[in-house]
């Protein structure tokens, strides 16, 4: 028995010496120290892989950036009675609720930007990464940062420009001008285009067929879009041209039903659905209806909307994009029967399929044609622009029938600039509908067709918003800065109309 007590006494002695060691619990089994992450190639690339993985597992964000702008624009009819959804849809977002559906865009956007900033700084400071991996990590991080700032600046206007991971700086940061945000985006994409490779690489830095991580073409494609938005026609023209000329990598897919398949030749950058439950594209699972649109679901839940009659009426006869990219279901229990048309670019609307065949399309070649067309028309090379539009029209053209003897005719050369721009707006609307917020951003950035001093939104939205049960104001072009953000950063200024 004495031995036991000797041990207890020993315990007292041990205490005096062993304290500090005992209370250093070390790192948890499931975590790595940030400094370790950027000391080896595999984990440094893993940090970028983690960014893509967190996007794809976050259906809220994925649907938020592609669907919410579509809800705000004139493309859809909403059937949900959810208050937050109705507010986004009817351009009447409340500023008094503690959280809005649009907050996702801001909050998750900055989370992604944090990761990009951390990866960029980590790779830049690391002395142990191999040169190709350092370039890949930095290029991908710059691309992703630019991608999110592009979305944020179009959704919220001049947002705070966060380029470090220092919370003390970032918690009291002020808004930047729209121009300053674009300057950063252009710098990032230019740098990324220099660092990224022509071919696609995977998470180990090895060449792959999967077009799910940005490469040089992706940086150029996004940069051409950014130049277009900024009115730098020459740069947009030349960069889109470089991408289009890269026919070894990219080509238009003839069969419209195959455009949105995984790694299609038209894809410049896709996001692989590799997330929650069933792993299908959030766009497909959101849009593709198997029954009436739901009244109780939400903008983040999906299956609440159908295409608007105004949009459906915009299709020209003999356009295969109507037959291949739009589908419908009919409810025969009502009298008369009700038919709902919905976007059918992605065909898979439910979960649980054995293999994933579709990826979310973020950048595709057709858009580059549209960018070059617009840049050329604005530059005055109207016919060159029309030629680009005709490439897309040709692809979408149905076979001639008795009913439609002249399906989707090619646009005539020699159109006036105004007529060419009208055709361009129409072509963008039809080609890019329900994709990545294109229509919403176009309405806001493009000059009016009737009154070029105003925006396209000024011409389209008053009627569209009225049809949606709201009333239009220029103020609704931007979403409100989240209320939680306003309360936690004194220096932020709310967007007009939401103060």
């Amino acid at each position: 028995m004495k031995i036991i007590f000797n041990y207890i006494l020993l315990g007292f002695v041990f205490l005096v010496s062993g304290c500090t060691k005992f209370v250093n619990a070390g790192l948890p089994d499931n975590k790595l120290a940030a400094t370790t992450v950027f000391s080896s190639d595999a984990t440094a690339l893993g940090a970028m892989t983690g960014l893509y993985a967190s996007l794809t597992s976050n259906t809220l964000l994925m649907t938020a950036w592609s669907v919410m702008p579509a809800m705000s624009a004139d493309e859809l009819v909403n059937y949900s009675t959810n208050a937050g959804t109705v507010q986004v849809y009817s351009n009447s977002i409340s500023t008094s609720t503690s959280s809005n559906t649009t907050d996702y865009l801001w909050n998750y956007g900055y989370q992604a930007i944090y990761i990009a900033n951390a990866a960029l700084a980590g790779a830049q400071q690391s002395v142990s990464l191999s040169a190709p991996v350092a370039a890949q990590v930095e290029g991908e991080a710059e691309f992703m940062r630019a991608f999110f700032y592009f979305n944020l600046v179009n959704e919220f206007g001049g947002v705070p420009l966060v380029t470090t991971t220092d919370y003390q700086t970032n918690m009291a940061i002020k808004r930047s001008s729209v121009a300053a945000v674009y300057t950063q985006i252009i710098a990032d994409l230019t740098d990324a285009a220099g660092k990224l490779t022509d071919g696609y690489l995977d998470g180990n830095g090895v060449t792959t067929n999967e077009r799910i991580r940005p490469n040089k073409g992706a940086a150029q494609a996004l940069l051409s879009r950014v130049y277009l938005y900024n009115g730098d026609w020459a740069s947009a023209d030349s960069l889109a041209g470089i991408v289009i000329a890269n026919s070894g990598e990219y080509s238009l897919v003839t069969d419209l039903n195959s455009v949105f398949l995984a790694n299609s030749n038209e894809a410049i950058w896709q996001i692989q659905p590799a997330g929650v439950g069933g792993e299908e594209t959030p766009e497909g699972t959101w849009y593709v209806l198997s029954s009436n649109p739901s009244a109780s679901s939400t903008v983040t839940g999906g299956k609440i909307a159908a295409l608007s009659p105004a949009f459906l009426n915009a299709f020209e006869p003999g356009d295969n994009r109507m037959t291949d990219w739009v589908d419908s279901i009919t409810d025969h229990t009502t009298s008369p029967a009700t038919t709902y048309y919905f976007p059918f670019k992605y065909k898979i609307g439910d979960y649980g399929n054995a293999t994933v065949t579709e990826y979310s399309m973020e950048l595709r070649l057709a858009e580059q044609y549209l960018i070059r067309a617009e840049a050329r028309i604005r530059e005055g090379q109207v016919d060159a622009g029309i030629a680009d539009l005709n490439v897309l029209r040709a692809r979408a053209r149905a076979a001639a029938t008795v009913a439609v003897p002249n399906p989707l005719p090619a646009l005539a050369m020699g159109l006036s600039k105004t007529a060419a721009l009208t055709a361009l707006v129409h072509e963008r609307r039809i080609e890019l509908f329900s994709e990545g917020g294109h229509r919403w951003f176009d309405l806001k950035r493009m000059a009016g067709l009737v009154n070029p001093l105003g925006s396209l939104a000024d011409e389209v939205m008053p009627a569209a918003t009225a049809a949606k049960g709201g009333s239009w104001s220029d103020n609704w072009e931007l979403y409100p800065v989240p209320l939680t953000e306003m309360t936690s950063n004194v220096d932020l200024v709310q967007n007009p109309g939401y103060e």
């Binding site: 597992s57 008094s96 944090y114 919370y167 180990n204 792959t208 009244a295 306003m486």
Partner: protein, 1119 residues
């Protein structure tokens, strides 16, 4: 009984090695009170017939036939003399006389004890005993069953001399006065005064038996690392006993604290069995609302205060996996304790009581002590079975179908819209003549309750044991067979060596809990479903989805939730008395909680029309928390000068490892395979891991001077792994003092009605490390999904290497008074706790990439309060007793200062000078009589007609205090012969949230009070017009709750508990050879008086299951 011992006769050596000698001194006298042999006047005659028998045989015969106990010295027996006797029906004295006639032994009878010892040898004999005053007195103090009382204090009246007994209960006291009066006291026993018998010879021994005290002041209460009594306590301590717990039909022992302890605010968040409660002791100390949990120790082992997790919380895990839930939600960890195993729960409140727990005592400490085997050697079987049921106490008044339809049509009219099948299936698709009382359908069931406990205890003087088995089952008021089922077993053994210097106790408990409560929304549905909603089933027995126009509430019955939790607790303590008064001991504990759950959403729980292939899913969760601790301690108790000294020093090593793996699996081929992970089409895994290491040295000095003045000092140096390098250690301590002024002669003589008076106070610093680990280092963890076949890493947090201990300065003052021989006891406490250097997850804007960072906020939060406790014995006669105990607390909470508040991210959440859980709101300006829409004031006092015209958060210019204004409980206990009635009433005064689940006019049922709404211009009302279109201002205003109108009186008086018991008369029981039997009835939540109408219960204040009304009958038998 023969006591083998070595009696050392007085000799000159005595004085030299007194300590050692005393330790060798053995018992002279020991009494054993045999059960049931108390009847006075029974003739004690004996019949002894032996031939050449050893003396032992005679002693045994006497013991068998009488209630005398014989104590003989070892050498009496060892000498091996034999005796022959043939005596019939003679007195004990005659037997002894005959027995020792020719032997060198002498005998004496004191009380029920017969002492036999060697006759003094002539020549060595001192002067005749009757003449010489004893110069030294030796004695032994035991309880009524003969168990020695260690540390009993013996004082000589009128002198400052005092001694304490050793492990064997023996004391040795130099004495000058032969007529000295000794005052003998011991924790939990009635103090006794003993006049030193002049007949006691020098070196002779005195046996003093102490009886358990009925005076609550002298009952033992468990405190940090020991026990004391209220009388000698300087700290602020509350306590409930096994009897209090036994009165309540509960499966979670913490529920018994509600309404019984001043300063402890406990409220149920949900009436579902096993769900968590919010427990705060003396208010919210931390701005970090999840860090206000008290420290809970079960037999000295830290017990988890957070749930091991619940289900369905896996989505949105962007910021890394943190699924642990606070005490305020999920399954309560205390549900993993068997109420029947618990001997007492002690609540430590002030610095004096808690500072020895250092960094963890900031929010108070709850000590749970399990039952130990009872001393006395009686083998005893206790059976306690009870059963009953619970029901929802009262339903809300909701609209009936005609009223509901009127509301809906009016809402469409107000909005100027026409209902269509999409937005109004309740008007156009459903059968509008139907009426269903959904509260009755979904909440109208009776939840079966069963609690069966069996225990076996016994042992001998050195070793006791208790074995307990229990089964507790609780059903639900919902449709379907949801329930919680607990089976538990526990074994406790304690042992004392023959020489009493070594002591050991061990206990092991195992509990298995099976919970099948799914995360359904029955309560919300019961209260909001339209009364004309379709039938649940189609005629063919299939669930009715009514063309996807509703979510059938019975689809929840298709979901399957099952959580099985195993809780293993083991603890032990070893102690050894090295020299008199100095004890070395070690306590060790181990606790392992394992939870495995599945939460299945089969295809059958979805609307088939909306179901997409592979949407069925199941979440498999496996979580464990493993804790061990070792606390070596040294304690020295001695008499120092005129008082008693108790010094404790010790150290703690503790480790807690928490792990969780959750697998969300999708796309099962068939619902029948949904519990098979291998059958899932896809799955992803998330893990969490946290290790906590804690180490401390602590010490305490307690000195009681002349039973009047008490001083307590304690200190602790703590290290915790939750802090970064260089910040791990902190120092904490307290000073406490008490003055038992009632013992001053001046008071005794001047105020004879005052039987007890104590003034006490304490001040000290405790801390808190109640934060998640690893916040000081920036980490990445794997993403749970792969991308492109590769694993990713994602950042977990923003790192702050600089944060350290939060400190809480606690000031406490108490006045305790006893009147009329302590029949009225009053205890008034004032406290002021100021916690600063607040450890919070500081709110950050999203631009930082995260929501929070671990941070020391320089803010100071102050909790002050007054606590009253009154215990009275109103009537005490032989047949009838009426006792009342009352507790009452007035808490106040205030954010005292917050440097840089105006620019902090929390400036719209709190206000300086106001309580922490103040709600910042927009001032409400009433309902505009012209439009029927709610109006508001901006911060500049401008009246606006729409929430969209408010500038938020700047217009949060008013605040509402939702702190409890006061709370308390009053218990009356009436005892008449075999009957006992206990009634506990709970009182709470507070403001509560007006919980409107939906805008009146939307497709949701509403409380009938909405009928008082605005209908036409000129109507003056506080209920706005009905609205149904979310894009209208009327609707958005309705939905806006953050106004000064959003809160209402949520005070209540609850008849919390009624327990009626009847003890069967002893006469009946004796025939049946049963020691005790009791029938009882228990009723819980029998009556609720409240004005709160915005939910089923003002305590839960939400559309969650209210605390149930429980009725239980039971039978308790002791064999």
């Amino acid at each position: 009984m023969v006591f083998k011992a070595h009696y050392a006769p007085p000799c000159p050596k005595w004085g030299l090695t007194k300590t050692l000698l005393v330790m060798q001194l053995t018992v002279l006298l020991l009494t054993v009170a045999a059960f049931g042999v108390q009847a006075a006047g029974v003739a004690q005659t004996v019949t002894v017939t032996v031939k050449n028998a050893p003396l032992e045989k005679v002693f045994k015969a006497i013991e068998r036939q009488t209630n005398y106990v014989v104590f003989a010295h070892a050498d009496v027996v060892e000498e091996g003399r034999t005796v022959s006797l043939d005596l019939k029906n003679v007195s004990v004295a005659q037997v002894l006389e005959a027995c020792f006639k020719n032997m060198p032994f002498t005998w004496s009878i004191e009380g029920r004890v017969i002492a036999v010892e060697r006759r003094p040898v002539p020549g060595l004999a001192v002067a005749p005993a009757t003449e010489a005053p004893p110069s030294e007195i030796h004695g032994r103090v035991t309880d009524s069953s003969g168990v020695p009382l260690e540390g009993a204090s013996i004082m000589v009246r009128g002198s400052k001399r005092a001694v304490q007994t050793d492990a064997k209960g023996i004391f040795n006291l130099p004495l000058a006065d032969s007529n000295a009066v000794l005052i003998v006291s011991y924790t939990g026993m009635t103090p006794r005064t003993v006049r030193v018998n002049a007949g006691l010879r020098s070196g002779g021994a005195l046996h003093i038996t102490l009886l358990p005290s009925n005076n609550p002041l002298d009952q033992a209460q468990v405190i940090a690392y020991g026990t004391n009594t209220r009388r000698f306590s300087v700290g602020s301590v509350g306590r409930i006993s096994a009897e209090d717990i036994a009165q309540e039909p509960i499966s979670n022992p913490m529920m018994a604290l509600e309404g019984r302890i001043a300063g402890l605010d406990l409220s149920q968040t949900n009436g579902i069995p096993g769900s968590a409660q919010a427990i705060t002791i003396r208010g919210l100390n931390s701005l970090n609302m999840t860090a206000n949990n008290p420290l809970v120790l079960v037999d000295g082992v830290p017990f988890l205060t957070t749930s091991l997790g619940t289900t369905g919380s896996l989505s949105g895990a962007y910021n890394g996996a943190n699924y642990s839930l606070s005490m305020n939600s999920g399954l309560s960890p205390f549900n993993l304790l068997n109420p029947g195993d618990i001997e007492s729960i002690t609540v430590l409140k002030d610095a004096d009581a808690t500072s020895i727990y250092g960094s963890r005592g900031s929010n108070g400490v709850i000590l749970i002590t399990t039952k130990k085997g009872k001393a006395g050697g009686q083998t005893q079987i206790d059976v306690n079975v009870s059963g009953g049921f619970g029901k929802v106490g009262h339903f809300m008044d909701l609209l009936n179908t005609p009223q509901y339809l009127e509301m809906r049509h009016e809402a469409f009219n107000n909005d100027g819209e026409t209902p269509n099948a999409g937005n109004a299936p309740d008007l156009l698709v459903w059968d509008t003549t139907r009426y269903t009382n959904w509260q009755k359908v979904l909440l109208g069931g009776a939840a079966a309750y069963n609690n069966d406990q069996v225990s076996l205890s016994g042992g001998n003087e050195n070793t006791h044991f208790i074995v307990n088995g229990s089964h507790i089952q609780q059903g639900s008021v919902y449709p379907g067979g949801f329930g919680d089922n607990k089976n538990a077993g526990r074994l406790g053994i304690d042992h004392t060596s023959l020489n009493k210097r070594f002591k050991a106790n061990f206990s092991v408990g195992y509990l298995v809990d099976n919970n099948t409560f799914t995360d359904s929304y029955f309560v919300q549905e019961a209260l909001t479903l339209a009364p004309d909603a379709p039938p649940l089933y189609l005629p063919d027995g299939q669930l009715n989805w009514a063309g996807s126009t509703w979510t059938n509430p019975y689809s929840a019955l298709q979901k399957k939730f099952h959580a099985k939790t195993d809780n293993l607790t083991a603890n032990g303590a070893l102690s050894y008395e090295i020299i008199k008064g100095l004890q070395i001991r070690a306590t060790m504990g181990y606790n392992n909680v394992q939870m495995n759950s599945t939460d299945a959403f089969p295809e059958s729980s979805f609307d088939p029309a909306l179901y997409s292939n592979g949407q069925n899913f199941n979440t498999f969760t496996s979580a464990s928390t493993e804790t061990w601790n070792i606390e070596p301690q040294l304690e020295y108790r001695s008499v120092l000068g005129p008082g008693r000294l108790d010094v404790l020093a010790g150290t703690t090593f503790e480790q807690m490892l928490t792990q969780q793996t959750a697998i969300a699996a999708y796309g099962f081929l068939n619902d029948a395979l949904i519990d098979d992970l291998g059958s899932a089409n896809s799955s992803y895994t998330t893990t969490s891991y946290s290790k906590y290491d804690y180490n401390a040295v602590f010490g305490r000095i307690n000195y009681v001077l002349a039973d009047k003045y008490i001083v307590d000092l304690s200190g602790r140096r703590d290290g915790s792994s939750r802090f970064g390098p260089g910040k791990q250690f902190g120092n904490f301590g307290s000073v406490g003092a008490g003055w038992l002024f009632g013992n001053e002669n001046l008071i005794k003589e001047g105020l004879p009605f005052l039987s007890y008076g104590k003034l006490r106070g304490s001040y000290g610093i405790t801390g808190s490390d109640n934060i998640p680990g690893y916040g000081f280092i920036s980490t990445f963890s794997p993403t749970y999904n792969q991308y492109g076949g590769d694993n990713g890493l994602t950042p977990n947090n923003l790192a702050n290497p600089d944060y350290s201990w939060e400190s809480n300065k606690k000031l406490d003052g108490g006045l305790e008074l006893g009147f009329i021989k302590d029949r009225i006891l009053v205890d008034v406490d004032y406290f002021r706790d100021r916690s600063s250097n607040q450890l919070v997850g500081y709110l950050l804007p999203a631009t930082t990439g995260f929501n929070t960072i671990q941070y020391n906020l320089p803010a100071t939060v102050q909790n002050t309060g007054l606590e009253f406790e009154v215990n009275t014995v109103n009537i005490r006669t032989a047949a009838f007793t009426w006792r009342t105990s009352l507790n009452f607390t007035i808490p106040r909470n205030k954010l005292v200062n917050y440097p840089g508040f105006a620019s902090s991210t929390e400036r719209y959440k709190y206000a300086i000078g106001e309580p922490l859980n103040v709600k910042k709101v927009v001032p409400f300006a009433g309902i505009n009589p012209a439009t029927g829409v709610a109006n508001y004031y901006t911060s500049k006092g401008v009246l606006v007609n729409s929430v969209r015209d408010l500038t938020l958060p700047q217009d949060f210019s008013a605040s509402v205090d939702v702190n409890t204004e006061y709370y308390g409980g009053i218990q009356n206990s009436l005892q008449y012969k075999g009957w006992q009635l206990d009634i506990l009433v709970q009182v709470v005064k507070q403001l509560g949230f007006k919980n409107m689940p939906a805008v009146a006019g939307s497709m949701n049922n509403q409380p009938t009070m909405v009928l008082g709404r605005w209908q036409k211009p000129g109507d003056i009302t506080d209920i706005p017009r009905f609205a149904q279109d979310p894009s209208t201002i009327a609707y958005q205003n309705w939905a806006y709750a953050n106004t000064s109108n959003g809160y209402t009186n949520a005070s209540f008086v609850r008849l919390k508990n009624v327990a009626l018991g009847y003890n069967l008369p002893a006469v009946w029981l004796r025939k049946a050879r049963i020691r005790a039997a009791r029938f009882y009835f228990q009723g819980q939540n029998l009556l609720l008086i409240t004005k709160y109408k915005y939910g089923p219960d003002p305590e839960t204040q939400s559309y969650l299951l209210p605390p149930l009304r429980q009725l239980v009958l039971g039978l308790q038998v002791t064999l």
